[in-house]
Amino acid sequence: MVILADDPLLEVGDVSLSFGGLAVLRDVSLAVRPGERVAVIGPNGAGKTSLLNCVNGFYHPQAGRIRYRGREITRAAPNEVARLGVARTFQNIELFTGATVLQNLLLARHRHIRYGLLAAAVYYGRAQAEETAHRARVEEVIDFLELEPIRHAPVAGLPYGLRKRVELGRALATDPDLLLLDEPMAGMTVEEKRDMVRFVVDANEALGATVLLIEHDMGVVMDVAHQIFVLDFGVLIGHGPPAAIRADPRVLRAYLGQEAMP
């Protein structure tokens, strides 16, 4: 079992976000502690992806603050947030489709590159040693996610389920402390989902990444998450461990009432 420290890794405090007159998030607060797997659920348009976009700096909320390791990142740019050790995947897979799996993963090592332009140009000494280390790290990710057969395959030709796995691989290759996953199991077959659940749980337990995920599949969420936050039209209407969420009447009415509970 993971030991949970008390200080949150990520703190979202009273965040509000609107586009023009449309309020997307209203006073949303949540905390993710180190080592936890936290899920955000809610119907379509509830603001789940917007919340992730606020965390990693794509959007800047009009009110409220976001802290990561106690440091304010509310106004930080996405690249700054990434440099702090926050990696994410996207609902609509954002990979370099013309590049191979290996190249996509190596690119993810960018934040760890320390050598300068000159060293890169002569490719000697530090540059070479670092590149070897990056390749070794990427190979660990390939082994972890069982990507060996498609290592040299261009992403464009891969089936959807595999691309999702490659995207998780790219996030893992950054050695993240916090992993933001936007519907990692969406559109997958039962078998692919099962594999993905295993990879996410292993990434958390074996690699020590804290996970904040958005997911539609209730069965998956109940299996994976330690804590669940429920969003409905931009408002947080409940949170707690899976068992409590399952029993919360407000949650049932707002969200789960639309579908049968698994």
Binding site: A136, E140, I142, E146, P149, E191, R198, D202
Partner: protein, 647 residues
């Protein structure tokens, strides 16, 4: 590339040795620093010398001894093709234990049966998936003392006093080695050529698997006698990709590699074997008929996708290739024109095709285990692949007959290898004698007596001998069938004809005691799927695709084609396309993918009856399909019985 194994000691002396002693000697002599094993890991070929190989086998063997393995105890090995398989196997043998290979794709119940029947005290499980299966049936395995895992991935969750990791066992071994430096050599000295080295469970097309007990001498003799036919060269490269529990893998990757000191190469994953094999360029390759059929169908599919020009060049070259191959198969001399043209064909087309298949450097390619369709055989020979049939069984430690170079015919499996006496019983059963014939089945004296009656190994195969001593295998003695009018036919022969079609993946022929021959067919989903896509035939699942009218017409044409080369009485008159793929998990195929006729006859009795009914029609089907992970789904469809014109 580093060459290895040039200084092999007089090999025949190996007969007085044992497998681990051979390894020890190999590591100690001049070849010790040469490459023994290659394993692709993290995308890079990692090389291990004979000394490395011995160091690991030594550490693991001593580790087992430290854990309490007593001589004669069994170690079940559930491991894929990787160096740890050999370390575990040879380490076990060094410690005086007996290795028992278990097929990794077997389900928990089957794995449990073998582990328990073999009385295994230790189990080596490659990864989390295999470990989970063993743990699932642990309650039924009271004799297992320790489970040893190889791949650390996913093991962080496992906290079980019975589970130990491979490196931990090796560390125990190294400790023991440091405390008692002479211990390993003592253990080696205690191994004897007559000792049982492996218990090899045969998948068996009927009943529970049986454990064939093979000695060190059985296996070493196999390596030596087989090499008398096709000599092993120092620069040979073996490629280990077939399941390690299979006797052929044991005979080659363990016995032949150790006796002759040639390197064994392992792919990174089963899924990457094709690409990894291309990089290695093996010189010797064994493959079950399914491999050669898959390659043939792969060439044909790729051909559909290539440019018309390339296709035309290929067709032209193939014509020359077939002419040369047919002359060779008929043992007619090749004229100068044939020679020039087949060389030209090689340069224009075959070279590229063989290279694409990773078969460019192959000197000897073998097929065995089941009969290979003559058309596939002829096709690959026309490409210039030196493909030969061999025949054998687990009970003779591998192979007993093989084609000699220059004397290859597709209707035979060649002549017996040196040291094998072969004869036929009055009923036509193939009987064999050699130093490689096994001791018997483990804990099954009755089956042993039946198999070794009168001092001959009873193979259970029906055969014939040609005038010049080639063996023709007809079928399993129990599988030769008789139509109602008394006509004999071999279902397997007809099935192979049918399976030559790239669209047909599996075929089961029926007709015993019936008026005519009929067949249950499995379409090849990728190939038929592509065919349907090209014709804009929309389809969803396998079940759906298999019952499309267009697909029926396609397969009917293929069956008519196969019928043309069959005697009139043995032609397939009706067939059905099965709504699901035959599967080992449903007990319809063995783990080596041979069809279990009895199971199929029972399960699909209604379909078979319908094929002999008054009129061909649709039969409603409701069936439960079990997936590998144990979940089930119900399929409802109507299966059509098709009539073959001119059948």
């Amino acid at each position: 590339m580093i060459r290895s194994g040039a200084a092999a000691p007089a090999p025949r002396a190996a007969l007085g040795s044992t497998l681990p002693r051979l390894l020890s000697a190999r590591a100690a002599d001049a070849s010790g620093r040469r490459v023994a094993l290659r394993y692709k890991d993290r995308g890079i070929w990692q090389e291990f010398t004979w000394q490395d190989y011995l160091a690991h086998a030594r550490a693991f063997g001593l580790g087992l001894a430290a854990l309490g393995l007593a001589p004669g105890e069994k170690v079940a090995i559930l491991c894929g093709n990787r160096p740890e398989w050999l370390y575990a196997e040879v380490g076990t043998l060094a410690a005086g234990g007996i290795a028992v290979g278990v097929y990794q794709d077997a389900i928990a119940r089957e794995i449990g049966y073998v582990i328990d029947h073999a009385d295994a005290a230790y189990v080596v499980a490659e990864d989390q998936e295999q470990l989970d299966k063993v743990l699932e049936v642990r309650e039924d395995l009271p004799k297992v003392r320790r489970i040893i895992t190889v791949d650390p991935k996913g093991m962080h969750r496992v906290d079980d006093p019975q589970v130990t990791r491979f490196p931990e066992v090796e560390a125990l071994g190294r400790e023991l080695d440091a405390a008692h430096p002479g211990r390993f050599d003592d253990l080696l000295l205690n191994t004897a050529p007559e000792d049982i080295a492996n218990i090899v469970y045969t998948s068996g097309t009927t009943g529970s698997p049986k454990g064939a007990m093979l000695t060190h001498r059985n296996l070493i003799n196999m390596a030596l006698t087989f090499a008398e036919v096709d000599p092993v060269r120092p620069d040979d490269q073996l490629f280990s990709y077939l399941p390690p529990p299979w006797i052929g893998e044991i005979a080659m990757s363990i016995a032949t590699a150790l006796v002759f000191g040639i390197p064994v190469n392992f792919p990174e994953e089963a899924e990457t074997a094709r690409d990894d094999g291309r990089e290695i360029g093996p010189t010797v390759l064994f493959g079950p008929p399914r491999l050669w059929e898959a390659l043939t169908s792969q060439v044909q599919v790729k051909l559909m996708d290539t440019t018309p020009f390339k296709r035309a060049v290929y067709r032209l070259a193939m014509r020359w290739g077939y002419r040369a191959a047919d002359k060779r198969l008929r043992r007619q001399p090749l004229g100068p024109a044939d020679r020039v043209l087949s060389r030209l064909g090689y340069l224009l087309a075959f070279r590229a095709v063989l290279d694409d298949l990773g078969m460019l450097r192959i000197r000897h390619a073998y097929t065995g285990g089941a009969a290979l369709g003559p058309d596939t055989f002829r096709f690959l020979r026309a490409l210039g692949l030196n493909l030969k049939q061999l025949y054998g069984q687990t009970e003779i430690a591998g192979f007993s007959c093989v084609h000699r170079d220059g004397d290859v015919r597709f209707e035979t499996v060649g002549r017996p290898i040196p040291g094998v006496d072969l004869t036929l019983s009055p009923e036509g059963e193939i009987l064999e004698r050699s130093d490689s014939v096994f001791l018997g089945y483990y804990k099954d004296p009755q089956a042993t007596r039946a198999a070794l009656q009168g001092g001959w190994l009873h193979t259970g195969d029906a055969g014939q001998l040609t005038d010049d001593g080639h063996l023709v295998v007809i079928d399993r003695l129990s599988d030769v069938m008789r139509l109602a009018d008394g006509t004999l036919f071999s279902p397997q022969f007809i099935e192979n004809k049918l399976k030559f079609s790239p669209f047909v993946r599996e075929a089961v022929v029926v007709g015993h005691g019936r008026p005519y021959v009929a067949a249950i067919l499995n379409i090849d989903m990728p190939v038929v799927g592509k065919w349907a896509e090209d014709r804009q035939i929309a389809h969803t699942t396998y079940t759906d695709l298999s019952q499309k009218a267009g697909v029926y017409d396609l397969i009917a044409a293929e069956v008519r084609g196969a019928n043309e080369s069959l005697p009139r009485s043995a032609r397939v008159r009706r067939f059905v396309l099965l709504y699901k793929e035959l599967d080992a998990d449903d007990g319809e195929l063995t783990r080596t993918r041979k069809v279990r006729r009895r199971v199929i006859a029972e399960r699909y009795a209604h379909l078979i009856e319908a094929m002999y009914g008054a009129s061909a029609d649709r039969i409603p089907v409701r069936a439960t399909i079990t997936y590998r992970d144990g979940t089930t789904a119900v399929v409802e469809t109507a299966v059509r019985v098709a009539e073959v014109a001119g059948g």
